[in-house]
Symmetry: C2
Subunit: 211 residues, 2 copies
């Protein structure tokens, strides 16, 4: 991947392409034209074709692009060249699952610090990751120059923890709590709402399957 | 919610609206017009306005719809009237996290059976949920008429387990493994790819934050 050659404006659109293609994929769509994509994501089709040519993806006249190929392709590009160290805040059940999750196997992402309150695991190493007391959150994030935090704390303390995270250099939060966090504009929040995922799935099968 | 009055075609479009609005929300967009939505999800704007009027959501001329209001609104509609029993296949770390996850608190969803292999927890009750040996998967799903399964098994056995699930009346799978499952058309798969979520977040902050 010679990602350096890709213009920044093009690079910026990549996650948008990626997310929309995932929606198409989940909807069972196998191909898409640049015109359809253009309408969907508010980028004109000539720009999309030019963007895709930077990536090396070529559509076929009268067929468009193969959705699965594009997805696999963008997944490759999204892979990072350099290691990103990530903090995990909240080592309950889900936190433990993520500690054991093999992010690093598929990607250049590694949980390098975890934080919890009131746990017997504080100041121990779990799955190779040191667990710090939550009181050290701000200091450690700054010392380790961590830019991404995963929030797996109970919802009732989520905003309070997010406020502390916002005192550091963190630029992105992956939020597993059910709270919609309020953070400064410089921090990007991605919400992973497992209840919503299940609800949407159930709604789909209820409304698509009726004979 | 008088959901019975909503035409089926309208109901079918709801998850699509919901997903696209979540993308807009995550991108920091606070309002959207029916024309923008129309272009994005390939439904004409008159249909969208009619759909939304069934839901009782009204846009303001020259302003459009408030994204957060629409999201909260659709979240309400997606709530089920009746309880949906769900099976959890694979009681490792993530499985345990989901067993303890309070789906039922926010929604009418309940994990009513879990399955694992070779675990000391087989034939015990964990977090109120009975754990069955995986050999009983097909029988129990059929006996309990379960229509949704959550897959939290190791990736290497994911397809094999999906094949067994496909022998039952299950209509939807929430897939937490990194495998893209191959299943019959009557089964809808939603993929929750945590590595992708993190990668996309990291890509976003890398490319949007450069000064």
């Amino acid at each position: 991947m010679t990602e350096t050659k890709i213009p920044r404006a093009t690079a910026k659109r990549l996650p948008l392409y990626y997310r929309y293609l995932n929606i198409l994929h989940d909807g069972g769509k196998t191909r898409v034209s640049s015109n359809e994509l253009a309408d969907a994501i508010r980028v004109d089709s000539a720009t999309i074709r030019r963007d895709f040519s930077y990536f090396g993806a070529l559509g076929k006249r009268g067929y468009g692009y193969d959705v699965d190929n594009l997805l696999a392709f963008f997944k490759d590009i999204l892979d990072q060249d350099r290691l990103t160290n990530v903090a995990l805040v909240g080592v309950g059940n889900l936190g433990h699952a993520l500690l054991n999750f093999s992010f690093h196997q598929d990607s250049n992402i590694r949980i390098s610090a975890a934080f919890d309150i009131n746990s017997q695991e504080i100041n121990t190493v779990q799955s190779g990751v040191p667990i710090y007391p939550i009181e050290q959150l701000v200091t450690q994030l700054q010392d380790q120059q961590i830019t991404v935090a995963i929030l797996t704390v109970p919802s009732r303390v989520a905003q309070e923890v997010a406020n502390q995270v916002a005192e550091t250099g963190v630029k992105g939060i992956l939020n597993f709590t059910s709270i919609r966090l309020s953070v400064p504009d410089r921090i990007r929040v991605h919400n992973v709402d497992l209840t919503n995922e299940l609800q949407t799935l159930i709604y789909f099968i209820d409304h698509y399957d009726q004979k």
